[in-house]
């Protein structure tokens, strides 16, 4: 049933694409005719299409990475936040995607999330640290399901194509109107006089071009925004279908909108992609035709009004009831075979509400870990956060003044001996002594060849806690509470450290 939805979306995208392309070509033709006289239309069309091709090429090749970088999102590994990755995997299975999206974290207090990537197989989901601090498991699942739905429904593709079209139309009209304004319309006359054409015949074209240049961008924008809003509703509906739990997304949306922290990473380009519009839109805009997102109160109300289970049809009916008129948010072919899905029960929340503070602290630590901090547990019970710039061998505890060793991976004595023996006997290569492939020789290790390739070693201080230590190259490695392997590979230099 998801496939019909995607197909219906594709048809709509095509429709929109053709509509906007016609507008763009017409704009090119009339501006060309108006500015250059008879025969200029062809040239105008060529300019319009070329503009569009250049802009699309830029957005296809650099788009998703650029958006992620603009948002200052950092890619993370599963051990940084196992729950987030679990939820992403759950949604991957539920939605039938072939590959899990990559996961990024944005170091911001404002709760929000977005998805990007032109193909579902090569997509990314970014969430802010604030989102992780504020939401419980069910709510986080709702948000990730919403983002996964965007990926599944090819909304990013659609938004990219549409925004490039919109950009081309706006740019062309803008240049033309400015040209007209500054030259007082004389450009056309001058051009025509050179061609010694019969005057006057061009006037209808000039008027048509001006009308198109004024109305075209307006029309294109309305089209773009209206469909963008519809896609948000559709993603909400699909998210509920994936999680079978409307309340999760509803309360997540409430929490996100209730947090009055500005999102610094948001700008005009990535704003439409977030789950909740991050820019301070005026009251008129937020509810009107010019908004990329539907008002949040309405989204929440629809989710809470779903009385016929968690299916798409239930969402459709709830939407129609609240609006008082039947609106097709979900393409009809998508809900034909929709069987009523029972709403599941809430998860027993592992994190009780009182320990929200602890959750906040955990996420703050998580952000430090992402940024390369190491953590030490002092004997007095204080958790010391060591910034990555600190190269000292030890640090004094700010509470009790005790000196704490900063753990670093050390060259293992055993492996050194084994490597030396291996080198003496000469039968095996030094690296074979521990069956570990080494990508690079260690930095700053003792001189002999065998010792250079011996593995680093780190002995764990506690079990069942987060731990971190730095590799020989200075890169920070994280051990999760559930880490059970005997070795770890450095993401930076590729060296293996044995964990004891």
């Amino acid at each position: 049933m998801m496939w019909e939805l995607i197909a219906a979306n594709r048809r709509k995208s095509l429709f929109l694409f053709v509509g906007m392309a016609t507008l763009l070509v017409a704009l090119g033709y009339f501006i060309g005719e108006a500015a250059m006289g008879e025969g200029g239309g062809t040239f105008g069309i060529i300019v319009a299409v070329a503009l569009w091709v250049i802009l699309s090429a830029a957005s296809v090749f650099g788009g998703p990475e650029l958006v992620l970088r603009m948002s200052r999102a950092k890619e993370v590994t599963p051990d940084v936040h196992p729950q987030l990755f679990n939820i992403v995997d759950e949604m991957k299975i539920a939605s039938g995607l072939t590959k899990s999206p990559r996961v990024y974290i944005i170091d911001e207090k404002a709760p929000n999330a977005f998805a990007t990537g032109l193909r579902p197989e090569d997509s990314s989901i970014a969430v802010t640290a604030g989102l992780l601090t504020r939401l419980n498991r069910d709510e986080l699942q709702g948000v990730i399901a919403h983002e996964t739905s965007h990926i599944m429904n090819r909304d990013v593709q659609f938004l990219t194509v549409a925004s490039v079209m919109l950009g081309s139309i706006v740019l062309m009209s803008d240049v033309f109107l400015r040209g007209m304004w500054y030259s007082g319309g004389s450009a056309t006359r001058r051009w025509r006089s050179k061609k010694s054409d019969s005057g006057g015949s061009n006037a209808p074209f000039v008027i048509a071009a001006i009308a198109l240049a004024i109305l075209g961008p307006l029309f294109a924008r309305l089209l773009y925004f209206s469909i963008s809003r519809k896609r948000e509703y559709l993603a909400d509906a699909c998210a509920v279908q994936l999680t079978r739990y409307p309340e999760g997304l509803a309360s997540a949306l409430e929490k996100i909108s209730a947090a009055e922290v500005p999102l610094h990473a948001a700008n005009q380009v990535n704003a439409p992609m977030f789950i909740v519009a991050p820019l301070q839109e005026g009251v008129a805009r937020a509810s009107g035709w010019g908004a990329t997102h539907p008002p949040i109160e309405e989204r929440v109300r629809i989710l809470r009004a779903m009385s016929e289970g968690a299916g798409l049809l239930s969402y459709q009916h709830a939407f129609a009831r609240l609006r008082g008129k039947p609106v097709n948010i979900i393409p009809r072919s998508g809900i034909q075979k929709d069987t009523p899905l029972p709403v599941r029960e809430a998860h027993p929340d592992v994190v009780a509400e009182e320990s929200r503070k602890q959750q906040t602290r955990d996420v703050m630590d998580l952000m430090r870990a992402v940024n390369g901090f190491a953590f030490l547990l002092c004997a007095c019970g204080l958790k010391i956060k060591v910034p990555p710039e600190l190269k000292d061998p030890s640090i004094a505890c700010p509470r009790c003044g005790r000196d704490n060793q900063i753990p670093r991976a050390q060259v293992s004595e055993f492996a050194e001996v084994a490597a030396a023996v291996g080198a003496l006997v000469g039968t095996s290569k030094p690296g074979d002594a521990s069956d570990v492939p080494f990508a690079q020789p260690a930095i700053g290790a003792p001189g002999s060849v065998g010792a250079q390739e011996s593995p680093l070693e780190y002995s764990r201080r506690t079990h069942g806690e987060w731990e971190s230590f730095s590799c020989g190259c200075g890169h920070l490695l994280q051990l999760s509470p559930s880490f059970a392997a005997s070795q770890m590979k450095c993401a930076n230099c590729g060296r293996i450290t044995r964990v004891i």
């Binding site: 299975i93 029972p342 069942g464």
Partner: protein, 185 residues
């Protein structure tokens, strides 16, 4: 001329035949693939449970029964062969696990154990993944079984011995045992 028409008809029939056969194979493979998705998650759950029990043991001295119930249900589930046996055994295991999770509420020390929390998160995620994978599997089975029963593909399915597959049902304990409300004591 007649021979030519005859040949054309035969060729068309052959193409039709091959097409149906291939689509049947494709659907059966989709079922198999969906099953392996479930199987991965079931195995993962089987792997997690001993750790969970081991961690909980120290805190839950008086809950031997609950813990043995889980361990037994797990070994039964691991021994189960076909889809039918598996769904029965996994249903029992789910029930045992959810009973255990309810018992955990009485042990605040256990709930504060980081290791236990990490395991619990893994278990929750695995249960969710099983539920979602089961949905995909049952959809694939429905598609395949419909195809086998419907004309004309049922003829070819009969010739090549395509058998209908079985749904994987795990009754969720919460749904099966409706909450009992008692007003009198």
């Amino acid at each position: 001329m007649a021979a030519l028409i005859f040949l054309a008809v035969v060729a068309l029939a052959a193409i039709f035949f091959v097409g149906i056969y291939n689509s049947l194979v494709q659907l059966r493979n989709r079922v198999k693939n969906a099953w392996s998705q479930i199987d991965v998650q079931l195995k993962r759950r089987h792997d997690l449970i001993p750790n969970l029990v081991e961690t909980a043991k120290g805190y839950m001295q008086h809950e031997r029964e609950t813990l043995t119930a889980i361990t037994d249900a797990r070994s039964r589930a691991m021994g189960a062969g076909n889809v039918h046996d598996k769904s029965a055994a996994e249903t029992q295991l789910s029930a045992a696990v959810s009973k255990f999770m309810l018992t955990v509420e009485n042990y605040p020390d256990l709930k504060a154990n980081q290791n236990f929390l990490a395991l619990q998160e893994e278990l929750t995620a695995t249960e969710n993944k099983i539920a979602f994978a089961r949905q995909a599997y049952n959809d694939a089975v429905l598609f395949f079984n419909n195809k086998i029963e419907m004309f004309p593909s049922n003829v070819i399915a009969g010739m090549f011995n395509f058998r209908p597959e079985e749904n994987f049902e795990i009754e969720e304990p919460a749904q099966r045992e409706a909450p009992k409300v008692q007003f009198t004591r």
